[in-house]
Amino acid sequence: MRRFTIKLIELVVVVFFVSIFTFLLLHLLPGSPAQSILGASATPHAVDVLNKALNLDRPLPVQYVDWIGHIVRGNFGTSYVNGQPVGQAILQHLPVTLELMVLSQLIAFAAAIPLGIWAAYRKNTWVDRIATGGSFALLALPPFILALIFVYVFAVRWHLFPATGFTPLSAGLFENLRTMILPALSLALGSVAIYVRVLRSEMITVLEENFITAARAKGMPSWWILLRHAFRPATFALVTVAGVNIGYLIGGSFIVEDIFALPGVGLLTVDSIFSRDYVTVQGCILVVAIGFVVINFLVDLLYPVLDPRTRDARIGRMAVH
């Protein structure tokens, strides 16, 4: 319970600073924010009106409190480019991004877990070398390059999947997946590389522990030992890495959505950047950043579930490694 409270306080503090930073972004703009929002063709009168409306003539802290007040009530402002409420736009675009990320992680885990376990078990054999070497190479391939490769091979050359476009789930699962598979793969491969490396490294360490030898002494078969004894302790690091990886995933999804024209939050943000729709950009960044913080918080809460040693605060920690 105590751990939870500490983590919660950390969460609040971090969210607070994230909000401050996002709030200040608008003030990074050269010239007055109002001017930038309205664009170069704005009349001085319009700028004045907006200034008053946005309270831009008030001191910063007051503006911030105002802004936060609106945010917590769900009012992310209104776009001055298309007049749409930002909150609504984000909500509309969110499901696509979520589907993309979930799909990519499912693929990543499905591939990385068996590969990582096998590479650790058959350390230094050709399977291991391919897995390790392959992961190393994949780490140099960012999602946008992978996306282009996939588009070229599977869409341009082989016409298997569409190069761009999105079909929502409501139109049918198969069609939806057809548009999502290439983007999800582009994101997944980078994650696979990381997960395989971490899992392999952790498994190798765990497999050298005494309790593994003891399990062998009991005559338990290898697959049992790998899955029931070795895998569990190795997941702790994997979970942590997965949590941090979501950050890179978010960044990657922005680009992937742009390439494949998937109507997610990433595409919304990028489009808004180029149409100078700064209010929308600010809203998107805030949502994405806070979402990331919250996800990591939840991942942190996962530890006592996975590792029984963290449940008992009073017992001194015994090292697995």
């Binding site: 002494a217 078969p221 569990r232």
Partner: protein, 366 residues
């Protein structure tokens, strides 16, 4: 305990060599490790036998090869870089002939092991109950409910209080002594014919050591199980074994029935070991007697007798020729020494007080 005996699968009669009553026989077993530094000869020609229902004690300093020996018997050595020769025969069957799958069916079922540090030999993230029942379910094909029932029985047999609660707990929630009992329960769950206890009490408090050793002895008697007790402490094996083998630098340097060993030890190393055991009835503030020097580098053992550099009685011959294991004055007594203690050369008085202790059926310490 008897509830387990009748559940054991009937072994198909096997065609094996007839080696008499010996349950386990080691013939010139060698285990060498290939490393960057050279070949480490951890176990360098060990021959032993253990008979059904008997207890063998293996005594040696750290680095003597006793742990590698126990791993060699169980076949738990790393796959790469290990060179093995010699034979391990269990019930007449050559273990080196058996494929890994057959060895797996032996381990846990007929041949099992208790490790030194129970905190590291139990999986910290798996519940105690599961760690016991998995052996029962896998080897004996027992169902989940029945396995749990048997696990409870086992915990009672090893005198763990409140066994229902313990089943649900994790290793870190138990004390050291209780964990070791759990480890023993795990090892005994399928009613093995031979139990290998590798320094089972070294990591425990002195007060707990005696209890656990007594427990082991009781369980061994009840099940008519053979046991190998590996330790560095002569006091541990004094009153609790039928036979003792003393190891040094990968070889057995003296081997005898327990009483014979204590009464009539021949190898100076054995004597030095005995002298280094602190006596509870000694004068207060007595200094510890230690054996000077360190065990030899097993990649480059010295020529001749390996103990010569540290031996108080070493002569020239000791340093150039390695003494073979020769039979001693009594039956079943073997030792490897050119100038054994029985000779008139500076023969010190055997500790007769020890004799009386053994006759009274008590160990020396703990």
């Amino acid at each position: 305990m008897t509830v387990l005996r009748h559940l054991r699968p009937i072994h198909p009669s096997h065609v094996g060599e007839d080696s008499g009553a010996a349950l386990l026989e080691l013939r010139d077993v060698k285990t060498h490790f290939e490393t960057a530094r050279g070949v480490i000869r951890a176990v360098d020609g060990v021959s032993l036998t253990v008979e059904k229902g008997k207890i063998l004690g293996i005594v040696g300093e750290s680095g003597s090869g006793k742990t590698v020996l126990s791993r060699s018997i169980m076949g738990l050595l790393p796959r790469r870089g290990t060179v093995r020769s010699g034979e391990v025969l269990f019930e007449g069957r050559r273990l080196s002939d058996l494929p890994e799958s057959a060895l797996r069916s032996l381990r846990g079922l007929e041949l099992s092991m208790v490790f030194q540090d129970s905190m590291s030999s139990l999986n910290p993230v798996v519940r105690i109950g599961r760690q016991i029942t998995e052996v029962l379910e896998y080897h004996m094909g027992v169902g989940v409910a029945e396995a749990r029932h048997q696990a409870l029985e086992l915990l009672r047999a090893v005198e763990v209080p409140d066994p229902e609660q313990r089943l649900r707990e994790y290793p870190h929630q138990l004390s050291g002594g209780m964990r070791q009992r759990v480890a023993i329960a795990m090892a005994l769950s399928c009613g093995p014919k031979l139990l290998l206890a590798d320094e089972p009490t070294t990591a425990l408090d002195v007060t707990v050591q005696a209890h656990v050793l007594d427990l082991l002895q009781d369980l061994q008697e009840q099940r008519d199980m053979a046991m190998i007790l590996v330790t560095h402490d002569l006091g541990v094996v004094a009153g609790r074994t039928d036979e003792i083998a003393v190891m040094y630098a990968g070889k057995v340097v003296e081997r005898a029935p327990t009483r014979t060993l204590f009464r009539d030890m021949q190898m100076p190393y054995t004597q030095a070991l005995l002298r280094s055991v602190p006596r509870i009835d000694g004068p207060p503030h007595a200094t510890f007697v230690t054996i000077g020097g360190r065990p030899p580098d097993l990649a480059n053992p010295p020529p001749g007798c390996r103990f010569a550099p540290r031996c108080a009685y070493a002569q020239d011959r000791c340093r150039s020729e390695e003494p073979p294991l020769t039979p001693g004055p009594t039956a079943g007594h073997f030792f490897a020494c050119w100038f054994p203690l029985g000779d008139t050369v500076d023969a010190p008085n055997p500790p007769d007080r020890l004799d009386r202790e053994i006759a009274a059926g008590r160990g020396v310490v703990s």
